[in-house]
């Protein structure tokens, strides 16, 4: 009996019990759909984070004031020194491999344009920032470069902030107020969307010293350091730390690199995905037991058929094959259906949250099909063996 004939025979038998077949197929389908959907979400979360970080640029060092990793009190009672604009300049000038640096001061304040006001994050930085973060200006220009302008009164608006404040009017050259300070709008950014929690469309850039004055800060929020290449990162990081140690006479900054954060997130999310798969596999086990149940009922109900097949000369191996094929056909149908349902669910999810790149990884698709076949095989063996062991006389006479 060829495999094709076996499958045809199995389909015939399954068609005889449509409802039962449908229900056990649905059981497997739910399990597989869960695996597909959950891995898609896990993988989506991982991709989202990776995307966010790579949009930062992979050759960046980010310096934060304060020592995050200290345990216990700082030795010699050191006080964290301010991270200053001069520090940023010194790094740019003296650390080999550093292309440029961008100091960053941050706060939230209301930008007032005529009678309209909007509370937005205000980032104080220099002209270098637009190069470090690849900021595109849609109209006008970014903050002017040079020392003299670090305390200037220029302001660059995000695209949404500009729209909200000025409506259809061209904001270039207009005057806005931030607190007591007056600024002239010199540029509007191209839409960029969110990145690492910052909505780049709804903020304003001002010169760094001005920002520190507005927010009454002595220390920068961050210093972004662009290094020549990713390979040069570790060396540059060491040298930056060395330089700042000399300038501050203490280890009082924290430097993070993309790679470290990225791999940490990535491994956390991989564990998350694995956990989701484990949860989903519980439902697959339940589905497998469902198939076993259905096949056991089938074997009991079809004792006469089994007896007949034996009387007609079917060998034990063929009876085993017939019932096992039935179980595998059941679970494979469920697998295919579940895969389709899972894909549709993911598709709907992506339609609702377009920024979330949910998509089942290839290994999950391959695995779920393989598992669905396996579930049928595994949970079908016992019922099929029971069918094989039936005594033909007992089976035929119903004793």
């Amino acid at each position: 009996m060829s495999p094709f004939e076996l499958v045809r025979f199995a389909f015939g038998a399954l068609r005889g019990h449509r409802l039962r077949t449908l229900l056990s197929v649905a059981g497997v389908a739910v399990g597989i759909a869960a695996v597909v959907a959950l891995t898609a979400l896990g993988e989506g979360a991982r991709r989202y984070v990776v995307q966010e970080f790579t949009s930062l640029g992979s050759n960046l060092l980010i310096i934060m004031p304060g020592k995050v990793e200290t345990t216990g009190a700082m030795p010699f009672g050191g006080v964290a020194h301010d991270l200053t604009i001069e520090d940023a300049q010194a790094i740019a000038q003296r650390v080999p491999g550093v292309v440029r640096t961008a100091p960053l001061a941050a706060g939230t304040e209301t930008v007032q344009a005529g009678d309209r006001g909007r509370s937005v994050p205000i980032l104080g930085t220099t002209a270098e920032y637009s190069l470090v973060r690849q900021v595109t200006v849609a109209a006008g220009r970014f903050l002017p470069g040079g020392q003299a302008h670090q305390s200037g009164a220029e302001l660059v608006l995000g695209s949404k902030a500009a729209r909200e404040l000025f409506g259809g009017v061209n904001p270039l050259g207009r005057v806005v107020r931030v607190g007591p300070y007056r600024f002239r709008v010199v540029g509007v950014l191209a839409p960029k969307g969110r990145s690492l929690g910052f909505d780049f469309d709804d903020l304003a850039f001002v010169p760094v010293r001005t920002a520190m004055r507005i927010f009454d800060r002595n220390s920068l929020f961050r210093v972004l350091v662009e290094v020549r290449s990713t390979d040069a990162l570790p060396e540059a990081k060491k040298n930056v730390l060395q330089l700042l140690r000399e300038r501050h006479r203490a280890d009082d900054v924290t430097i993070i690199t993309q790679g470290a954060v990225l791999s940490a997130f990535s491994s956390i999310l991989a564990v998350l995905t694995a956990a989701l798969v484990a949860i989903a596999s519980v439902s697959l086990t339940v589905a497998g037991i469902g198939i076993m149940n259905v096949m056991l009922i089938s074997v009991t109900e079809r004792r006469a058929e089994i007896g007949l097949l034996k009387a007609l000369g079917a060998r034990d191996r063929q009876v085993l094959g017939a019932f096992l094929t039935e179980a595998v056909v059941l679970s494979s149908l469920g697998g295919l259906l579940g895969l389709g349902a899972g894909m549709v669910a993911v598709r709907l999810f992506v339609d609702i949250y377009p920024t979330f790149p949910a998509s089942p990884p290839t290994w999950a698709v391959v695995l779920s099909i393989a598992v669905s076949v396996l579930v049928g095989g595994l949970f079908g063996v016992w019922p099929a063996r029971r069918a094989t062991r039936l005594d033909p006389v007992t089976a035929l006479t119903g004793r």
Binding site: M1, S2, E5, F9, G12, A13, R15, G16, A304, E305, G307, L308, L309, K310, A311, L312, G313, A314, R315, D316, R317, Q318, P392, V393, L396, T397
Partner: protein, 224 residues
């Protein structure tokens, strides 16, 4: 001698007690014979048929089929023997309700690995031989009792076995259908197939050239 039973015992254990369905039964059947086995229910006649059909194994004794001891053959060998040499006709037809008449007749060939086209042809021929050419695509529930038994006969002979075993083949049929079915079986017998019919109906048994009567696991009478 085609079939040779000598000193056959079949013992069942039911709970704590032993039941002897067959007690030291010996029987010889020539090729082409038409034999009827009569007896009340529980007399052991069905057990005898199951042993003859290699569905059951004797507890003791020898069973020669064409001179070969088959009572102790391994399962697969006995399956092959049933497949090629033995055709069964049952009281309750045992047709698969999900298959058409054609599908039911194809069944033994399916498990014998006969290619699809050949299966079709042979099944059609077998159904023609039992006069059901116009019922080929009907399912059992669309057929009368007599028609069902004729499908079962077609299925039993489609592998061209040398031995045809019928267990109360008319037990579920009306008079007219019963006569039809018996005539069909006798036609197969005339074509050379050895026919053994188990029945408690004297009319059916009376059609055989030779008849044995069983009671309590032994032969009590032989005639013809």
């Amino acid at each position: 001698m085609m079939l040779e039973l000598s000193g056959i015992w079949r013992r069942y254990v039911v709970g704590d007690s032993e039941v002897n369905a067959l007690r030291d039964v010996s029987l010889g059947v020539e090729r082409g014979e038409h034999l009827a086995v009569m007896g009340p229910s529980g007399s052991g006649k069905s057990t005898l048929l199951h042993i003859l059909g290699c569905l059951d194994r004797p507890t003791a004794g020898r069973y020669l089929f064409d001179g070969r001891e088959v009572g102790s053959l391994p399962d697969d060998e006995r399956s092959r023997l049933r497949q090629h040499e033995i055709g069964f006709v049952f009281q309750f037809f045992h047709l698969l309700s999900r298959l058409t008449a054609q599908g039911n007749v194809e069944l033994p060939m399916l498990f014998a690995g006969v290619p699809r086209d050949e299966r079709r042809q042979r099944a059609a021929k077998a159904l023609e031989a039992v006069g059901l050419t116009d019922r080929v695509h009907h399912r059992p529930d669309q057929l009368s009792g007599g028609q069902r038994q004729r499908v079962a006969i077609a299925r039993a002979v489609v592998m061209e076995p040398s031995l045809l075993l019928a267990d109360e083949p008319t037990g579920n049929l009306d008079r007219a259908s019963a006569v039809e079915v018996m005539e069909l079986l006798e036609a197969m017998n005339r074509d050379g197939q050895t026919l053994i019919v188990v029945t408690h109906d004297p009319d059916v048994a009376g059609r055989a050239r030779r008849m044995v009567r069983m009671s309590d696991g032994v032969f009590v009478e032989e005639s013809g």
